[in-house]
């Protein structure tokens, strides 16, 4: 491209991101109204799943409203039954879904029992979703015990959505087992626009892709929610990210969020909501929007959120029968700050060790020799992530030069890998492409080595190696060994790097 001589540094110092001080309605009227108004085309479909409009839920119709609200504020307002809220207010919020997993579930349950009594019942057995996913395929006794604890609790409480696994030797023998909680929540229809979802996992923010408020909480808070269905939350101010421009076909949502985190730093959004809008965001699939929201916590964000639209409603068809009510930011909503990004000018990125904001262009790191590649996790282990990796491998026709580990997020993703054809391959499935390229056989779905885990975890980094990974964190020791070095990257970049044994820009293969 034209500005190439300076491109390396310029992409980074961001001429493409223009922060604007958050004036009241700094957002242009058109863009916000285009977001606000539900597309006519889809309205028929939506009607069938929407609740009848309830006036007490609509602050804007009460007449008392003086200032517009962001979509995050509106969700808080509905969930706290208040007509108007401002950032900084503490309100009791009714929780729509509480998710917990095998790592934090036992602790949350312990606190729940201790505080509410041994015979206490959870506030709503259909609103608690329990997903074993972290330490599953291990012989670690405590890890196995923890799954037993959440199983016993689920049975005792009649928890409706508990995705059990008993036979560790063959995950396919467990029809209820899903895998990584954030991906499973979406696939099983627990993510709905306008709702409040909390989970004992920091990447619970992933569900913001559905236009809902979703955030991670600790065990103690979760214990309280189990007993009461409520949580005292502070209304966050919103940072708005307007992403426009056509997305080049060598970029993925992972590049977009790495760009943003590199821009605002790992604490740039601490305590704040991050709202993603603009034509690029509208063009993203649900899985890509999930990637975008997944990593807001790496910028310190409380939640990430994308307005629901036809893509959202389509994804939800057949997944949930519950009514939901999307909300949208008002034209005069207040944003703490607004950032504009011209996506068409971005290049593939990585986050170098040991921080997700240690951004660099992939091509700047072409001399970094790597020992392995990891494709998996709630960030980069979804069906489309494997499709992307397969696309690069197919385009090259070559074999990978370093061990390449594939960890599908969920059982559904695993199935997709073995059944869905890769476009342009003459009908070959992803698994066939991976095999031909010499990747490791896709393993059982779970969090795997994304967070290290017990010593016998598949693909865990047990030596001081260099890994290109589609996961979300590269802090020291994150994937196992303290002196391991993790380069976070998109599935394109990860696959390209596997092919060369160095950090590699995927354009080397996609052109």
């Amino acid at each position: 491209m034209a500005m190439s001589s300076m491109a390396a540094s310029s992409a980074i110092s961001s001429p493409f991101i223009t922060p604007k001080d958050g004036g009241v309605s700094s957002l242009s009227a058109q863009s916000s109204s285009s977001i606000k108004v539900m597309p006519k085309k889809v309205s028929k479909k939506i009607v069938s799943v929407m609740t009848p409009q309830q006036s007490e839920r609509k602050p804007s119709t009460t007449g008392s409203v003086k200032t517009g609200m962001t979509m995050t504020e509106k969700i808080f307002s509905r969930a706290s039954e208040k007509s108007q809220l401002i950032p900084g207010e503490n309100v009791w919020v009714n929780i729509d879904i509480l998710m917990t997993h095998d790592v934090c579930g036992p602790g949350s349950i312990g606190i729940f029992k201790k505080e509410f009594g041994n015979d206490a019942k959870v506030w709503d057995r259909e609103k608690v979703v329990i997903i074993p996913d972290h330490y599953i395929f291990t012989s670690d006794e405590r890890a196995n015990r923890n799954v037993d604890i959440i199983r016993d609790f689920s049975h005792e409480q009649g928890i409706k959505y508990f995705y059990d696994i008993k036979d560790l030797s063959n995950f396919k023998a467990n029809p209820d087992y899903k895998g990584v909680c954030h991906v499973a929540l979406a696939q099983e229809g627990h993510c709905r626009p306008g709702e409040v979802l909390v989970g004992t996992d920091s990447h619970t923010c992933t569900a913001g892709a559905f236009g809902q408020f979703a955030t991670g909480i600790g065990n103690t808070d979760a214990g309280f929610v189990l007993g009461t269905g409520k949580l005292l939350l502070k209304v966050p101010p919103t940072l708005r990210f307007v992403l426009d421009g056509e997305m080049p076909d060598y970029l993925l949502a992972k590049d977009l969020i790495l760009q943003i985190i590199g821009e605002i730093s790992v604490s740039g959004a601490t305590y704040k909501a991050m709202e993603f809008v603009g034509s690029t965001v509208e063009s993203l699939t649900m899985e890509e929007r999930m990637t975008l929201c997944n990593m807001v916590v790496e910028a310190g964000g409380k939640n990430g959120i994308v307005p629901a639209d036809a893509t959202t409603f389509k994804y939800l068809e057949g997944k949930t029968s519950l009514p939901y009510e999307p909300v949208y930011s008002d034209g005069d909503a207040r944003f703490l700050q607004e950032y504009r990004i011209d996506v068409s000018k971005l290049e593939p990125l990585v986050a170098k060790p040991h921080s997700p904001d240690n951004r660099a262009l992939a091509r700047e790191c072409k001399d970094v020799k790597i020992d392995r590649v990891y494709i998996g996790s709630c960030t980069g282990g979804k069906t489309e992530d494997f499709q992307a990796a397969a696309r690069v491998l197919l385009a090259s026709g070559e074999k990978v030069k370093v061990p390449t580990f594939l960890v599908p997020a969920t059982q559904k993703v695993w199935m997709d890998i073995y059944t869905l054809p890769v476009p342009g391959s003459g009908g070959k499935t992803m698994s066939q492409i991976f095999e031909a390229a010499g990747c490791d056989t896709p393993t059982s779905p779970s969090c795997g080595a994304c967070l290290g885990g017990p010593k016998d975890t598949y693909a865990r980094i047990n030596e001081p190696q260099v890994c290109v990974s589609t996961t979300n964190r590269n802090f020291p020791g994150r994937m196992g060994h303290k002196d391991g070095q993790i380069y976070l990257a998109s599935p394109y970049t990860a696959a390209a790097s596997a092919l060369t044994g160095f950090v590699t820009d995927p354009r080397d293969f996609l052109h």
Binding site: N90, D221, F224, P237, V266
Partner: protein, 254 residues
């Protein structure tokens, strides 16, 4: 022995604390948090018990905690050697994921968590926070840079520090979930310094923290540093966590 102390200590529960966000101060709500008007009772547990356990920490809760006006846990002070870390200390460094199978509400697992605290720090930290084979630290006060506690939502992180015998962290800033978990569990005081002090203090320095005066005194270097007010969070930690606090205020049945 200390098992009893632990179980009392881990009581906490709940809800909320959102109220206490470390960084955002623009729209402070009017006194919000429902908890604030409760008459304070002498705080019974956490701190006194910890004092017994960790003789090298001097924590002196003032007997009659009266003035409800100040939320700064009046009269409390901490004294001991400090352990100094840098920026972006994430929860994997505070407690490695493989130890998160430990359940903090089980007393002996709680104690074990303490023995693993800050073990994830890179080897460049030559002095270990907890010596191999030990369960407790020699350093009751941790001093850090910005964004302390970033990363996962694991409550094991503040619990591990508390279990190791460090009831207070002083950092430039915190990640949201860590801050909230610290307060919800009542395990540690997450204090913020007004200036960066992790460059000026060294591991092993003798330090006193006076909560009432929002002051950190480094006796080794002879320097003093102003701390930010702990705000709404103080009384909650003092009560021993959000559950104890919510009970006191009648928010949930005692």
């Amino acid at each position: 022995m200390s098992a009893i102390a632990y179980s009392a200590n881990t009581t906490t529960f709940s809800s909320t604390i959102s109220s206490i966000t470390p960084r955002y101060s623009r729209h402070q709500p009017p006194a919000s948090i429902a908890f604030s008007n409760t008459p304070k009772q002498p705080s019974f547990k956490t701190l006194t018990l910890k004092k017994l356990q960790f003789p090298n920490t001097t924590i002196s809760p003032r007997k009659a905690v009266v003035c409800a006006a100040s939320s700064d846990a009046p009269g409390k002070s901490f004294h001991g050697m400090c352990y100094v870390v840098r920026d972006n200390i994430d929860t994997d460094q505070i407690i490695q994921a493989e130890y998160c199978t430990l359940i903090p509400s089980n007393p002996d697992e709680y104690e074990k968590l303490g023995s693993y605290a800050l073990m994830g720090l890179p080897d460049s930290y030559e002095t270990r926070f907890v010596e191999p084979g030990e369960y407790k630290t020699k350093y009751p006060i941790i001093i850090g840079g910005y964004n302390f506690g970033c990363g996962s939502s694991r409550e094991h992180a503040p619990v591990a520090l508390g279990a190791a015998g460090a009831p207070v962290v002083v950092a430039e800033s915190y990640a949201r979930i860590f801050f909230r978990n610290s307060v919800a569990t009542g395990e540690i005081y997450p204090l913020e310094s007004e200036v960066r002090i992790c460059d000026e203090c060294k591991t092993g320095d003798e330090v006193t923290i006076e909560l009432e005066n929002s002051l950190l005194i480094n006796h080794t270097s002879g320097k003093e540093y102003k701390l930010k007010s702990i705000g709404d969070a103080g009384p909650v930690i003092e009560a021993g966590g959000i559950f104890a606090y919510a009970r006191k205020s009648g928010m949930i049945p005692a």
